[in-house]
C-alpha cells in the first residue's frame, strides 16, 4: 500500500443527537413519585399475586393490569450478578463494579442495581443488601434516588428462597 493510499479516509465518526419526550405512564409515575418520597412502591398482580418492583402496570405472565399498590422495604437479596470490567462510554460508572439482580423483600421479580461499599470479590449469590439513598434534600422522582445497594450484616439467603428469581 502506498503512503497516499494509507492516508485515505475510510470512515469518520460523527455525533448523533436525538431529543425525545419520555412519558413514564401511570405505574412508573407512581413509582417515580414514591422515589421522591423515599418509598419503594410496587404493584401486585390481581391474578397470580406476584409483586412487581418497579411496577409496569401489567403482569406479562397473566396479561392483566396490576393496580394494587404495595410498599416494599429497601432490603433484599442478590440473586445473581456479574463483575463488569470492560469500560463503555455509555456506562454511568467506571469498572470494575458489580451489577446485580436484586430481589427486594416482598417483591417477586429482581431488577439490576449497583453494589458498593464492599470489594467486588466479596459479592455472593444470596448476599443480603440494603438500599443507600441520596440525602433527603436530593430526593427526586427518579430510580437514581437510590444511589446503590450495600451488604448488611445478615446470613446469606438460602438458594431455595430465590431460585425462581435469578
Amino acid at each position: 500500500m502506498s503512503e497516499a493510499e494509507s492516508e485515505l479516509v475510510q470512515s469518520i465518526t460523527t455525533p448523533l443527537r436525538l431529543e425525545y419526550q419520555y412519558t413514564a405512564g401511570v405505574a412508573s409515575t407512581r413509582f417515580l413519585r414514591g422515589m421522591a418520597d423515599g418509598k419503594i412502591l410496587g404493584q401486585r398482580c390481581p391474578q397470580c399475586e406476584k409483586v412487581y418492583v418497579p411496577p409496569r402496570g401489567s403482569c406479562a405472565r397473566c396479561g392483566v393490569a396490576t393496580d394494587l399498590e404495595v410498599q416494599v422495604p429497601g432490603t433484599g437479596t442478590i440473586t445473581t450478578f456479574c463483575v463488569v470490567r470492560i469500560p463503555s462510554d455509555s456506562l454511568d460508572i467506571d469498572p470494575p463494579f458489580v451489577a446485580a439482580h436484586i430481589l427486594l423483600d416482598g417483591a417477586d421479580i429482581p431488577f439490576f442495581a449497583l453494589i458498593q461499599e464492599c470489594h467486588f470479590d466479596e459479592v455472593r449469590m444470596g448476599m443480603r443488601v440494603e438500599a443507600v439513598w441520596v440525602d433527603a434534600e436530593d430526593l427526586g422522582p427518579t430510580f437514581e434516588s437510590i444511589r446503590y445497594f450495600r451488604p448488611i450484616d445478615e446470613p446469606d439467603a438460602p438458594f431455595e428462597s430465590y431460585k425462581e428469581h435469578l
Binding site: A60, V84, A100
Partner: protein, 385 residues
Amino acid sequence: MAELCGVVGIGQTQHDAKRTDVSAPGLLREAATRALEDAQLTWSDIDAVVIGKAPDMFEGVMMPEIAMGDALGAAGKPILRVHTAGSVGGSTAVVAASLIQAGIHDRVLTVAYEKQSESNAMWALTIKIPFQQAIVAGAGGYFAPLIRAYMARSKAPEDTGIRVALKDRLNALKNPYAHLKIPGVDFDQVANSPMLWDPIRYLETCPSSDGACAMVLSSEKAAESAPTRPAWVWSTAMKSEPTMFSGRDQVNPQAGKDCAAELYKKAGITNPRKEIDAAEIYVPFSWFEPMWMENLGFAEEGLGWEMTYEGATALDGDLPVNCSGGVLSSNPIGASGMLRFAEAAMQVRGQAGEHQVEGARKALGHAYGGGSQFFAMWIVGSEKP
C-alpha cells in the same frame, strides 16, 4: 399441505473486524453473488428479497434496506425486512422459507448482515433508560448474571466454558470464512484471558465482525434445475416471550423449549440427540452451549455441560455443535443467526469442507435474541421430507 422448500444456493463473506474495502451494500452483494453463483442463477431469476439485520441503532442508519434495493437486485420486486434483534438472521430465513412454502414465490433471495465497524454495539446495547443508572454493560453485562445462575443451578465444572471456547476456536481454524482465528490456541490461553464480565472471559466472548450471509431458497419445482443437491427444509419454528415477568426462567426460557418442541414435532423427530447429525447453535458466550443443549432437549436440565465435557459436541462427537467455529469466531450480529442456518444447510449438502461432519443427513440451525426471548430454528435434511 405446504410446498417443499429447498436451499439451492449459499454464500457468505469473508468475516473480519473491519471490511473497509466494501460498503454495507457491497458486503451484502458479496454474499448474495456467491449464493447466486452456487445456485447457478442470476439476479433476474429471483422473485423477492427478504433481508434482516440488527436494530438500526447499531449503524445509526434508519431502514437501510430501502437504499439497498438496487444493490440487491430488488428493483421492481418485493423486499421485506425482518426485525427480531439478535435472532434476526434465523427469523429472516424462516420468513423467506414461508414465502416458498406458501406457494407465493418460486425463488427467494434471503440476506442478512452487520457492519459492526460502522457501529458501536457496546454503546447501542448499554441502554440508558430514563430515570435509571446505566450499569448493564452491553450484551455481556446482561448475559453474565444468567451464566452465573446456570453455573449455580447445574453445578457444572468451572472450566466448562473454557472447553467450549477452545473447541469453537479450534473449529474456526478449519473454516476459511471465520473472522477470529488463533493458531495454536490452547486451554491455558483461554483460561488466562482477562475477565470482561466476570464470569465471562475475553476468549469466551464473540468478536465484533463485519459480514453477511445469503441463501437462495427454491420451490420443489424450481429446484429441479439446481446444479447441486439442495438442503430440504424439514421444519421451521419461531417463538418469543416477554422480557420481564415474575418467575421467568431466563436460563432455560420457555419460549426456547416450546420452539424446539414444535420444530421436532413438525419434522417428525422424537429423539433429537440421535436423529440430528450436526447443530449450529447461537452461542455468543461459551457457556450458552450447555445452556442451549438443555433448552433444545439434547440433554436433561442441569446436564448440558456433560455433553461438552465428554466431547459429544466436538467435530467427532455424537452431536457436533458449531463446527464452523460459531458466533464465538464470527459475529456480524444480524447475519450471525443466518450463518447458523446456512452452515446447517452446508452440512447436509456436504459443502462444509474441512469442518464437514461426515455423512450429515439432518442438521439444526438455531438463533436467539433480545433478553433470551426470541427464538428461531430450522431443520434441514439431505433428503426430501
